[in-house]
């Protein structure tokens, strides 16, 4: 399994990278600057050499353009169009599923995730490849559980593939 990670600097992304390597998978890290158009385009250069793109980094856009994570997704959807043996995992913040009136965090952050969610969900409604998984999650929590789950998903990617994962903490766990 060859995996491209857009980032490996957060706690979760570092833990994922370590786990992937332990599994024996080849990991490439793009270290993309999501506010630099050239850097975003450069990430696409890995498309031919990897099986999975883990689109795991969000940075707010400093221009009027679509935010970098969404543009990374665009690039890989384009390069892997109709290719059913390629996989994209989009890590989307749970705020994408929260109503505006119920969300107390940063408005732009939520809007970016809502837009990204809408864009990739529309793609997922069609039947052709690549295989896209939208994982709605809180990237700062449940690190170990997320790592275990993503390893399981990737390990079984040839048999079953989730187009959607809403990854909650069990109720009552307020730690």
């Amino acid at each position: 399994m060859k995996i491209l990670m857009i980032d490996d600097t957060t706690t979760l992304n570092m833990a994922l990278k370590d786990a992937f390597i332990q599994k024996g998978w080849a990991v490439t890290v793009a270290n993309t600057d999501l506010n630099d158009s050239q850097s975003i385009l450069d990430a696409g250069k890995y498309a031919d050499d990897v099986d999975i793109c883990l689109n795991n980094m969000y940075t707010p856009s400093n221009t009027q353009e679509k935010h970098g994570q969404a543009r990374i997704s665009d690039i890989f959807l384009d390069k892997w169009d109709l290719n059913s043996v390629k996989y994209i995992i989009n890590m989307i913040d749970m705020s994408a599923l929260i109503k505006a009136e119920d969300y107390e965090g940063d408005k732009q952050y939520r809007l970016d995730n809502v837009m990204f969610n809408a864009m990739t969900t529309v793609f997922n409604a069609r039947a052709d490849g690549p295989n896209v998984c939208n994982a709605y999650m809180d990237r700062d929590n449940m690190i170990e559980a997320h790592v275990k789950l993503f390893c399981h998903v990737i390990e079984n990617s040839i048999q079953v593939w989730p187009s959607q994962l809403v990854l909650n903490k069990p109720l009552g766990d307020i730690a």
Partner: protein, 216 residues
């Protein structure tokens, strides 16, 4: 852990039941072949009352394949008269506010497909949609129990035998493995909604399906 499973004698229910027993958990199984038809209100009451102390309810059996007519919407089919939906509702109500209880629901990816014009799957889709809608109502409230709407594509169970051949079947164990993984990790992460399918499959959209059915 005590786990209640409907439809534990075939397919996915059997896989999860065997896996849980192998891990040393207590499984209480209910299947039509062992005298438990979830379309019967008394049977549902029995299942609920015998298992209020369970940790996990795997709402697996659909129970209405016998009522599905692939030629048209059968006259005897009534919306909401669905054993799986009713049992789900009963467990949700009984475990309301219980954050230590978990319900894993066998849903269908068909809910997310706009194939209403294909008559053969209409009734099944409506039944599954009603379950998904009910789950969303409970998960939006967020008081408990923990519910996971586990939507799947088709796989090779006896239930799939009655579906047209052009629906592509995955394998029971492929979905089963993930369900077992979810149950085993339920206290650290609990996905409230997942949509799984077979990757790289040739899948038919509404137009292609309608053509195959002779509608177009």
């Amino acid at each position: 852990m005590k786990i209640v499973i409907t439809g534990h004698k075939t397919g996915l229910g059997e896989y999860v039941s065997d896996a849980m027993i192998a891990q040393g958990h207590t499984v209480k199984g209910y299947s039509r072949s062992t005298g438990y038809d979830i379309n019967d209100a008394d049977v549902r009451d029995t299942i609920l009352l015998e298992n209020l102390d369970a940790d996990v309810f795997f709402n697996n059996a659909y129970g209405r394949m016998a009522n599905i007519d692939f030629e048209d919407q059968p006259t005897h089919w009534k919306r909401g008269e669905n054993g799986q939906l009713k049992l789900l509702e009963q467990f949700c109500d009984a475990w309301k506010g219980r954050t230590d209880k978990y319900i894993l629901h066998s849903g269908s990816k068909i809910v997310y497909k706009n194939i209403q014009k294909v008559k053969q799957v209409k009734t099944y889709r409506i039944d599954k949609m009603d379950c998904t809608a009910l789950i969303k109502t409970y998960t939006d409230i967020g008081l408990g129990p923990n519910i996971c709407d586990f939507s799947m594509g088709m796989f090779d169970t006896p239930m799939a035998d009655v579906w047209p051949d052009y629906f592509i079947r995955g394998k029971v164990e492929d979905y089963g493995k993930t369900m077992v993984m979810f149950i085993n990790n339920k206290e650290s992460i609990w996905p409230k909604e997942v949509v799984f399918d077979n990757p790289g499959r040739v899948e038919f959209g509404p137009v292609e399906l309608a053509k195959r059915e002779g509608w177009l």
